[in-house]
């Protein structure tokens, strides 16, 4: 299995948040980060803490909270501490209404040659149709973005596709961080509903992150490697 050259995760939730409470001091007081991390967050460039937006970062995560959106982005080496932090935050705000959760993973995969680089794009987005409109002797064609939605069940049962409460979007693009590399991203999207659950939506989110984030990481890494391998086979 092909290994990535860069790998990271982001956890995103949509709902109604109170950005002002999720401060570095609050994380430290609730034992989710240590004193050094809290100091690093307080000193971070671009620190904002307000009713409308909270933004700060340490050497292993960056956080951005808006009134309708929560984003936690990993920095540096990804580790389960990232999951614990996200899950811990949501378990501390159990009455926050949350409508959707995204477990995101992204990786850059270097390919050995320019031909291989183009082969990935040609396999995922064949150029036959485009070449008839834009003749290759006058134009060059390249794939910029391909997104495939994956959800359980047969395609005819899932129309329109947007109605599924749980699906994955897998996106392939040229990497803009690593030269001659392919960027892949997995967005595991879940609509959150409190119906038929004794838990609040935030508690559900905390539980999903705690129990499924790591498995999702393994799947993402496996699927990314498989996509690149199949495209180059």
């Amino acid at each position: 299995m092909r290994a990535p050259d860069s790998f990271s995760s982001a956890i995103v939730a949509v709902g109604s948040f109170n950005p002002a409470i999720i401060t570095p001091d609050w994380l430290e007081k609730n034992q989710l980060i240590g004193s050094d991390d809290a100091a690093s967050a307080r000193a971070s460039q671009g620190l904002i803490i307000s009713q409308q937006v909270t933004v700060y970062e340490t050497d292993w995560f960056a956080i951005q909270v808006l009134d309708n959106q929560f984003t936690l982005q990993s920095k540096g080496a990804l580790s389960p501490t990232f999951r614990d932090l996200a899950s811990g935050i949501f378990s501390l705000v159990p009455h926050t209404p949350i409508t959707a959760l995204g477990l995101n993973f992204s990786g850059d995969y270097k390919v050995p040659t320019v031909d291989a680089y183009h082969k990935v794009g040609d396999m995922l987005a064949p150029k036959e149709i485009w070449s008839k409109i834009y003749p290759p002797d006058k134009y060059s064609l390249g794939m910029m973005t391909v997104t495939i939605r994956v959800q359980e069940g047969k395609r005819e049962e899932n129309f329109p596709v947007l109605k599924s409460p749980h699906y994955k979007n897998i996106t392939v693009q040229p990497s803009n961080r690593v030269r001659s590399a392919i960027f892949l991203q997995l967005n595991d999207h879940r609509q959150i509903s409190e119906i038929q659950s004794e838990m609040t939506s935030a508690e559900l989110v905390a539980q999903i992150i705690a129990e499924e984030w790591e498995e999702c990481w393994e799947h993402a890494q496996h699927e990314f490697g498989s996509i690149v391998d199949f495209a180059l086979a």
Binding site: A10, P80, S91, N104, S180
Partner: protein, 195 residues
């Protein structure tokens, strides 16, 4: 759990003092060597890289509340040090078995969460635990040891990071849920609570 750790693993200390299995060290060396080769760019790749820069516009102002859009925009928006790329090679979940303050070491049990390696025990010097985590070093405490590759402007190095697990205190609501679950279990067993 392995019967005898010394039969299963040759423990060696890396530069940072956290012990590594012998095969880890060998793999790391091979990895660096293969990376150095792959860093030699084929001719003409510069043009491709230039094209790539325009693929995702940096998000400006408030992000759209659509999760699909978020993943891509976050990557561009939040990470400032875009020159640094890291990838975990092995991730171990460790549990502190005992702490030897006289020798400043902790005996740990490690199980692999990424990499599929065999679980084993070993000793780690307390000097490799960060100051902020020192008070968490007690028997039973969980930590994560991540071995990773870091690339920065053409320089590739292997490194490792040790962080202790942090979880918030139990909330009243969580305690109430646990108590409710315990009551339900007790009722099923038909045992009076007073016992």
């Amino acid at each position: 759990m392995p019967r005898d750790i010394n039969q299963n693993f040759d423990r060696q200390f890396s530069k940072t003092g956290v012990y590594l299995q012998r095969d880890t060290l060998e793999r790391s060396g091979r990895y660096v060597s293969s990376l150095q080769n792959s860093l030699k760019q084929p001719e003409g790749s510069g043009a491709i890289s230039d094209d790539v820069n325009a693929t995702i516009a940096p998000s400006v102002g408030r992000l759209a509340p659509s999760i699909e859009a978020l993943g891509a925009s976050i990557k561009q928006h939040v990470i400032r040090d875009a020159d640094v790329q890291t990838v975990p090679l092995q991730v171990w979940e460790g549990r502190v078995v005992s702490v030897d303050l006289d020798n400043q070491t902790m005996e740990v049990f490690l199980s692999s969460t990424l990499g599929g390696y065999e679980a084993h025990t070993g000793d780690i010097d307390l000097q490799w635990v960060s100051e902020q985590d020192k008070d968490l070093v007690v028997p039973g405490a969980v930590f994560y040891l991540t071995l990773f590759k870091r690339s920065k402007r053409g320089t590739v190095e292997n490194s490792q990071e040790l962080r202790f697990r942090r979880q918030p205190n139990w909330t009243k609501h969580q305690l109430a849920l646990i108590s409710k679950g315990a009551d339900a279990l007790l009722a099923k067993m038909g045992t009076p609570r007073s016992l």
